[in-house]
């Protein structure tokens, strides 16, 4: 347990000092106390004056760890959990963290439907049971031209989908977010056509980089980041990573997706990160990276890479496709 927590932070990354310090607090919080600290943490400097945010959620048992962000500095836990879009809790970047306290991520079940041999309603425990959790450090590129580097915990989406034995007609996979107006105050305003829906082509969904995440930073997902089950598709814009999934449907035709419905000329079905296809209203050539100590006023802007830097792994999914047309 302790060992896996230590290796949670890849040695190759420049671990931000605050995060490093926070680990002690987390360990203390978990009641591991001095035993864990004595061997696990070499930073014996006193905690920073400002109390760091403790990581919420239970610690996860994680097997393998892969840094698929080329050692780029990770985003602070506090930033990744307090600055994101999750319109069901409000449209401000701080709203999800602020308004998701009433949300109940347990008990949870997922309905599986459509062109598959195995369909029905499955509890979260049934969904997760056979899968070993792994950590994947991924770049997360928001369509708004900012980005983060986040260590997710989860398992390949394809591994789960195969268990339902999709039939030959299953050309696409559609996902739906839970719709609970009582727990999600953002739903009271029709800024989008609720419930939130997303989708992938079946080969995209089966790609080993497509991750179903249940945790981040070694711990269970906080409500504001999509607990208890969310999608992470690192080569696509962030909004493709649908949160709090309650329904998975195998379809023959391309499913409707929420942002595409909201603005078809601005948000395509594919939404692959592409510096050469601008959002009609802003450029996608560069992005502001939110990482490290989180307070670099200058020099945050970096060039956006095709497929968010995962072209080598995923570009072959789109051979022969006009990516300007199918953006």
């Amino acid at each position: 347990m302790h060992r896996s927590f230590r290796s949670n932070i890849p040695a190759s990354t420049i671990t931000p000092e605050p995060l490093y310090r926070r680990r002690r607090e987390i360990l203390q919080l978990l009641g591991l106390g001095a035993v864990g600290l004595a061997t696990g943490c070499h930073s014996e400097t006193p905690p920073a004056a400002a109390p760091a945010e403790a990581i919420a959620g239970a610690k996860l048992n994680i097997g393998s760890k892969v840094d698929t962000a080329a050692g780029e500095a990770q985003t602070r836990y506090k930033d990744a959990t307090h600055y994101n879009n999750y319109y069901e809790f409000g449209t401000g970047k701080g709203d999800p963290a602020e308004n998701s306290g009433r949300f109940h991520a347990r008990p949870w079940s997922v309905e599986v439907a459509g062109h598959a041999e195995v369909t029905g309603r499955f509890t979260l425990e049934d969904i997760l049971k056979p899968h070993a959790l792994e950590e994947r450090v991924y770049r997360m590129r928001c369509v708004e031209a900012w980005s983060m580097v986040i260590p997710w915990a989860g398992f390949p989406l394809g591994d789960l989908l195969k268990r339902f034995k999709p039939t030959a007609q299953a050309k696409y996979v559609a996902f739906t977010t839970v719709n609970r107006p009582g727990e999600m105050p953002g739903l009271s305003y029709p800024v989008l056509d609720w419930p939130y829906r997303e989708g992938l082509r079946i080969d995209e969904a089966m790609h080993p980089l497509a991750l179903l995440a249940v945790g981040m930073y070694g711990h269970e997902l906080p409500n504001q980041n999509g607990a208890p089950l969310r999608l992470v598709v690192p080569w696509k814009y962030g909004y493709k990573g649908i949160k709090a999934i309650v329904r998975i449907e195998f379809t023959e035709t391309q499913p409707l997706t929420t942002w595409n419905e909201a603005g078809a000329n601005e948000y395509g079905f594919y939404s692959n990160v592409n510096p050469d296809v601008d959002h009609p209203r802003w450029s996608q050539k560069t992005e502001r990276r939110i990482s490290g100590d989180g307070f670099n006023l200058f020099g945050n802007r970096i060039e956006t890479k095709p497929f968010n830097g995962y072209a080598e792994q995923v570009a072959n999914l789109y051979t022969g496709m006009d990516l300007r047309k199918y953006f």
Binding site: Y87, Y189, G263, R301
Partner: protein, 207 residues
């Protein structure tokens, strides 16, 4: 010897300080590193918010005089207008120097291709002649043309609100508030049915 000519003059330094307060708060938060996860976006949003607020405050002076008969309010208008220009300039500077820093090659295409940047930049350009001709001397020299030139502020305010509306992804509630305020301020300028009497002789107003 009196330090100030009258109460309005005495009040001006206070308004001046008040107008600088948002900048001071932004600077304070920057210094203390509490601008949040994306400090650059925060700087852009906060300077932009205040630019728009001060622009609308400037436009509120005329309706205020009409509604309250407090005609001396006009003596604050130049200061408010110049502060609006100041915050727009801060906003643009943050975008150019802090946000785009190192990627200036992107700038020209951004201004040309991004409608919301085009209108925002145009608004800033249009504010320059207004700021330059805001002195007493320029008012005298331009005569009637001064009024005509400064009608540009309506265009500028419209562009400013449009800039905000166009950059928002889906939730238009906040820019809509600015739009409503602008529309109200413009409607309050429409000549009333019996305008002369009402405007010319406010009753019971002696302040």
């Amino acid at each position: 010897m009196k330090l100030f000519r009258d109460r309005i003059a005495a009040f001006k330094p206070f308004v001046f300080a008040l107008c600088l307060l948002p900048l001071a708060l932004i600077a304070w938060d920057t210094w203390h590193g509490v601008l949040g996860a994306d400090p650059v976006a925060q700087l852009e949003h906060r300077s932009g918010d205040w630019a728009l607020r001060l622009l609308l405050t400037t436009l509120a002076i005329t309706p205020l005089r009409r509604l309250t008969g407090w005609h001396k309010a006009i003596r604050f208008r130049r200061m408010l207008g110049l502060f609006a220009f100041f915050y727009v300039t801060v906003h643009l500077t943050v975008y150019l120097v802090v946000d785009l820093g190192g990627y200036w090659s992107q700038l020209l295409t951004e201004i040309a291709k991004r409608p919301y940047i085009t209108v925002g930049f145009t608004a800033w350009l249009l504010l320059i002649p207004l700021a330059l001709t805001s002195t007493q001397g320029m008012m005298r020299r331009l005569g009637r043309n001064w009024q005509r030139l400064h009608k540009l502020v309506y265009v500028i305010a419209g562009l400013g609100v449009l800039h905000f509306l166009w950059l928002v992804k889906a939730d238009h509630r906040e820019p809509a508030i600015y739009l409503v305020v602008l529309i109200v301020l413009l409607l309050l300028r429409l000549p009333k049915r019996e305008p002369r009497r009402v405007i010319g002789r406010p009753q019971g107003q002696n302040t």
